[in-house]
């Protein structure tokens, strides 16, 4: 019986929340064996996982051949290929996979550049305060990459020259991808702003660029940059092949960055533009101080997605004769001395790419988190 009118006389007691599931058994019951079908699916899934996973572990770790200078290390008693991954192959080829044909005595330059780049990416997060300015990392990289080119290429300050044709492997992959990211970022922003411009010439040019570049495969862009660009240059002027690839990759990625950025710009309320205008900011300051810092946070996942795509797409530079990770591994597996170990090679390269992409993805999440802290809405 509830009364239609009510007046509280004593406070309601505070009760602990009910515990619905208790312990491991409870967890299993709610998550895995919640019904007959649930139990069946769980059993099948576990069986499949074991069936696939165990042989894989067996091949990759338990029966793997870890050391050895020659192919013989991975052969059985009868001289046939033994079961188990031949990691000795990777070990022998490791330094070529990392540096290509960069002279051994000069490799400290590559390591130095890699260290500086890493510092530029990580330090802003550690030095609080700097982390709030979204451009810090980018500015550091924008300065670092041209300097890095001088360092790696040499020919100045007493550094011996190392032709870009000697660059290869992971180093080349990262240089192409990194340069592509650093160049395509500002270019993409300009294109996105251009696409929203009130000036018809700029708007049309931006739209045409974006739509044309997005409409062709990267292979085509690389091919054009490699084969056709030299035709347009005056006689006697040559651009390094690697440079051409970087230009191609940058322009290609810029179109995608532009579209991601445009989405971010559209998400900023009109009132933000108006307030920035009304306070007397010029167009560029409106963008730099008010609009882009807000848009950046929105577009990080999209930009990162584009950049992960870019990293993997760099494998296409093989078609214009650059020897990136894939190029090195292809050459290595064709070497008669190590015939038959292509699987190990591609598994290793695949794993390397996965580590890089996963690292980028984690780094992006970290950036998002930092920016989110700085732009609480």
């Amino acid at each position: 019986m509830t009364d239609r009118f009510f007046l509280r006389e004593a406070a309601e007691p505070v009760l602990p929340a009910p515990r619905t599931t208790v312990g491991a058994a409870g967890w299993l019951r709610t998550n895995l064996f919640f019904s007959g079908w649930g139990a069946l699916v769980t059993v099948i899934a576990v069986a499949l996982a074991v069936a696939i996973f165990l042989p894989l572990v067996d091949w990759a770790i338990i029966q793997a051949h870890w050391t050895g200078e020659t192919r013989a290390a991975c052969l059985d008693a009868e001289g046939k290929k033994a079961f188990g991954a031949c990691w000795a192959f990777i070990e022998v080829r490791f330094s070529t996979l990392m540096y290509g044909f960069y002279p051994v005595d000069e490799r400290w330059r590559v390591n130095l550049f890699a260290g500086l780049t890493l510092a530029a990416l990580v330090l802003p997060s550690l030095l609080s305060g700097l982390g709030r300015i979204w451009g810090t990392r980018f500015l550091a990289l924008a300065v670092l990459f041209p300097l890095g080119w001088l360092l790696l290429h040499g020919g100045v300050l007493g550094l011996p020259m190392v032709e870009t044709s000697k660059w290869g492997g992971l180093m080349l992959t990262l240089i192409i991808a990194g340069s592509g990211m650093v160049c395509s970022f500002p270019l993409g922003i300009l294109l996105a702003l251009g696409r929203r411009s009130e000036l018809p010439v700029i708007r049309t040019a931006s739209i045409v660029f974006i739509e044309v570049v997005r409409g062709v495969p990267l292979v085509t862009v690389l091919f054009m940059a490699s084969v056709m660009l030299p035709l347009f240059l005056p006689n006697g002027v040559t651009i390094d092949k690697l440079m051409r690839a970087i230009v191609g990759v940058s322009l290609f990625t810029a179109a995608y960055v532009a579209e991601v950025m445009r989405g971010g710009l559209q998400a900023i309320p009109k009132g933000q533009y108006e307030a920035a205008q009304a306070i007397g900011l010029s167009y560029w300051r409106q963008m730099r101080l008010v609009i882009l810092p807000q848009a950046m946070r929105i577009v990080i996942p999209g930009i990162l997605n584009t950049y992960i795509g870019l990293l993997k797409d760099t494998t296409l530079v093989a078609v214009i004769g650059l020897v990136d990770l894939i190029g090195i591994i292809a050459a290595a597996t064709a070497d008669p001395a190590w015939l038959g170990f292509a699987t190990e090679g591609y598994v290793f390269v695949g794993l390397l790419f996965w580590v890089l992409c996963y690292g980028m993805s984690r780094y992006g999440l970290r950036l998002e988190y930092t920016l989110a802290k700085a732009t609480r809405r």
């Binding site: 009132g271 008010v290 810092p293 609480r376 809405r377």
Partner: protein, 246 residues
Amino acid sequence: MSNPIVEMAGIHKWYGDFHVLKNLNLVVDPGEKIVVCGPSGSGKSTAIRVINRLEEHQRGTLKVDGVTVDETLKDIDGFRARIGMVFQQFNLFPHMTVMENCTFAPMWLKGLSQAEAEARAIALLERVRIADQAMKFPGQLSGGQQQRAAIARALCMEPMLLLFDEPTSALDPEMVREVLDVMVELAASGITMICVTHEMGFARQVADRIVFMDQGEIVEISPPDVFFSQPRSARAATFLAQLVRS
């Protein structure tokens, strides 16, 4: 008699074929408080946004502090920097603290040092009674606090003219008062204000003149006592009657 701050003569504006502003004529003297009111869609927002050229007019002449405002105006950003604007939706910059919202424009546009800009900002935040919220982000403040921060941000540029576009319409009723109090104090300081609002108590208290707009026209310009007791136009009378009933 000093020169007027705003002189609108025969201002017309169209959105496509739609005639939003029809022959506006209004002269605002330094220190005057003008309240603009009228039914929704009557063109009030458009009219005050024409003054700092967030909207362009197509006919007529507009002078602000002696400067002719039209497509020949060279330094439009410098011009806007001298006019403060407060919006219905506050439009604070969410990625900056309240303090940064107030200091960044004076630092970038007027070359103030950070210390000077912060001193000025603190003084103004105290005046709008949110100095204790200076280090928070706008998203952490109540609507009333945000609007007062937006007023402080506008004041930090030391404007010669303040434009308000329904500054209390987006606020919960209990916060309207705190914003209006700040605006009343501001009015007493002698700054020139043009304020679109339906807060008739405020209008009665501070306005020198009420501008009543309807369907893109200025229907009536009257002193508040006349406007509220015996509006001279039938349309204003209808509008006031509706306002009282709601």
